[in-house]
Amino acid sequence: MTGLDLLLAIFGVAAIASGVQVFRTDSMVRASFLLLLSFIAVGVMMLLLSAPYLGMATIFMMAVEMMVMALFMVAFMMNPAGLNPMMMVHQHRFSIGAGAFAFVGLAVFVLVADFPRNAVDPEQPAIRALGHELLGGSMLIFETAGVTLLAAMVGAVILSSRNGRYGAADEGSRPPGLEPGGEPAGRVPEAGGGHHHHHH
């Protein structure tokens, strides 16, 4: 076991541990920061694996995202700062089993697998290669990603933006009535929407 392996193992354990903690903490904000911690550990591992760009990208992108997530939770969700401790889980034992099973299964496959041994040259200009790939061979993929991001942005705005150019954007956004001017057909949602098992 080389030093690199040791470092990788340490950060790996850190990533896993903080990952586990995400679901053990009783505050969502804390959970999102634990997740960020886990991502930072993963990003460091990437750096160790000679992928500087990806490592940094992961760390920064996730940092931003987790900030958004935290803000989001403060804005929308209940229990923003872990004021009242809670454990909101279902099918808990099955989930533990499934997670463990997935891990064991993948681990077994990984350990018995006969991967090609073809390590990257640490001196290789990884970032430049990536750039070439994006604008060369994988141009189409790159462009598709662009379109996808556009679509995601438009979609997110459509779904979440309350204020359109003509006032409340959601108003009238419902199926036509079965009779003109009547209620739409089909199952009728109960007034007020979903049930609430807990607090509010």
């Binding site: 496959f109 994988s138 189409l140 598709t144 679509a151």
Partner: protein
């Protein structure tokens, strides 16, 4: 490195149209948003012409192994465009009151592009991107009625299933990449071919299984089928028509394309797909049996139809009839399903099957269209669905999977029961009540889809002749 832009010209046309529609929507008052429909139709028309142009050329892989232009792919993209056009026609009446009416066309077109990318992808990464594009737009389309709880719930559920499915797909791609060192289909095939040990690796098996689930999500195949019924019921009717049909076309081709990479003697994927096919069609049919909501019933029937489509995929490569069967079946299915949803749309979303009593007396034309659609889904000749199922049976029997055909036949019998639960009361009750309808757009869509059902059945030769020599590149 070559960038034959022409090979993705149809996609570009659709994307540009989407952008135009989006801009138009931003600068026109809501009452003019319906103009998005003709614009979208024009764009789709151009895309269709461009697609048709690709049929002439030889099958080829372009964009450095990322993009396949082959018979199956081009026909699927053409189908996607055509089906979308029908859906576009259904839209204006339905969304008249929506403040974001115009943007709907843009989302629809972007989703179309996603499906097209899925159909043509020859690289795992391109496939993932296509699925992602198709998914995010799909969630939006499903949840488009922000002020309607069912729609929002359908969109959320679609998203939750999709997010996990897409994660699994990315995992699958990663595992395959680790094993074969590449994501392009050509390179993967070469890597498999040059592998010294023919024994399959667990990683490859897990990767393939994960990929099947991931793509199966778009196809609404077991086990990621659970969104289909919810979307069919809760989403806006045009979205439901779109989501039950268009992504499936792309996904079916993509699944076939991916599976043919793996030699069946090394990885026994045929029994897997056959099992999946049986599970999907049976589950869909059983769940549809007692539905009292027509849209939900159509959703479940759509699951079972995916099961039939998987029959062709299970035998792809074993018989030259498999690909024509797959494409033709998808075409027939698209026509029938869109026709059914078009009828529902035209009747302002009428969905309780009890509300359909006596429809034949009040609105014989719409009743006839719905009848054609449902009978075509059963596979009654000479409608499109019949030819499709015939070819599926043909392919499976020819490939030695006669048992699969027998199971499908038994399922068809069971399915007749629930389709008749809708049809019977339509004709056998004579009580009359007024049945308001939506308008000329949806009516036009219904007629067009109904005509397609008959046309594809009676004039099957027109599509079958070119399909006979169709190809599927790895």
């Amino acid at each position: 490195m070559s960038m034959p832009i022409g090979d993705v010209a149809p996609e570009i046309a659709v994307i540009l149209t989407a952008v135009i529609v989006l801009l138009a929507a931003a600068f026109t008052p809501q009452r003019l948003h319906w103009l998005g429909a003709p614009i979208a139709l024009a764009g789709l028309g151009i895309a269709a012409v461009l697609c048709a142009g690709q049929l002439a050329g030889p099958p080829r892989i372009s964009f450095s192994g990322v993009w396949a232009v082959d018979g199956a792919g081009v026909w699927a993209r053409l189908l996607i465009v055509a089906a979308t056009a029908l859906v576009v026609v259904l839209t204006p009446g339905w969304f008249m009151t929506d403040r974001r009416h115009g943007e709907y066309y843009a989302m629809l077109l972007l989703s179309t592009v996603g499906a097209m990318f899925i159909a043509g992808a020859a690289d795992l990464l391109q496939l993932v991107m296509g699925v992602l594009l198709s998914s995010v737009t799909g969630y939006t389309l499903a949840a488009y009625h922000r002020d309607w709880a069912l729609s929002v719930e359908a969109g959320m559920k679609y998203f939750l299933i999709g997010a996990l499915a897409n994660a699994l797909l990315v995992l699958a791609v990663t595992l395959l990449f680790g094993l074969y060192g590449a994501t392009g289909y050509g390179e993967i095939a070469a890597a498999i071919g040059s592998a010294p040990a023919p024994a399959p690796q667990g990683i490859a098996l897990a990767g393939l299984a994960l990929a099947v689930v991931g793509i199966g999500f778009k196809l609404a195949a077991v086990p990621a089928h659970t969104w289909m019924a919810d979307v069919a019921e809760g989403a806006p009717a045009p979205s439901a028509a779109f989501l039950t049909v268009v992504p499936k076309i792309g996904a079916a081709i993509a699944l076939a394309r991916l599976l043919t990479l793996f030699p069946p003697e090394v990885i026994a994927w045929r029994p897997l797909i056959a099992t999946l096919s049986v599970a999907t069609m049976t589950l869909g049919n059983l769940a549809a049996l007692w539905q009292s909501d027509l849209r939900r019933l159509l959703g479940w029937s759509s699951v079972s139809q995916s099961g039939y489509a998987l029959m062709a995929i299970a035998v792809v490569g074993l018989t030259e009839q498999a690909l024509p069967a797959l494409v033709f079946f998808l075409a027939g299915y698209a026509a029938a399903n869109v026709a059914a949803f078009a009828a529902v749309t035209h009747l302002r979303g009428r969905t309780n099957i009890d509300d359909y009593r006596g429809l034949a007396t009040v609105r014989p034309g719409i009743a006839a269209a719905l009848t054609l659609a449902l009978l075509s889904l059963v596979g009654i000749p000479p409608l499109a669905g019949f030819v499709g199922k015939l070819l599926l049976f043909w392919a499976t029997i020819d490939a030695g999977y006669a048992w699969l055909a027998a199971v499908a036949a038994a399922n068809t019998v069971a399915s007749l029961f629930y389709y008749l639960r809708v049809l019977g009361p339509m004709y056998f009750h004579t009580e009359t009540h007024t049945v308001p309808s939506l308008g000329r757009w949806a009516l036009g869509g219904t007629i067009a889809a109904g005509a397609a059902i008959i046309g594809l059945g009676v004039g099957a030769q027109a599509l079958l002749a070119p399909l006979a020599s169709t190809s599927l590149l790895p």
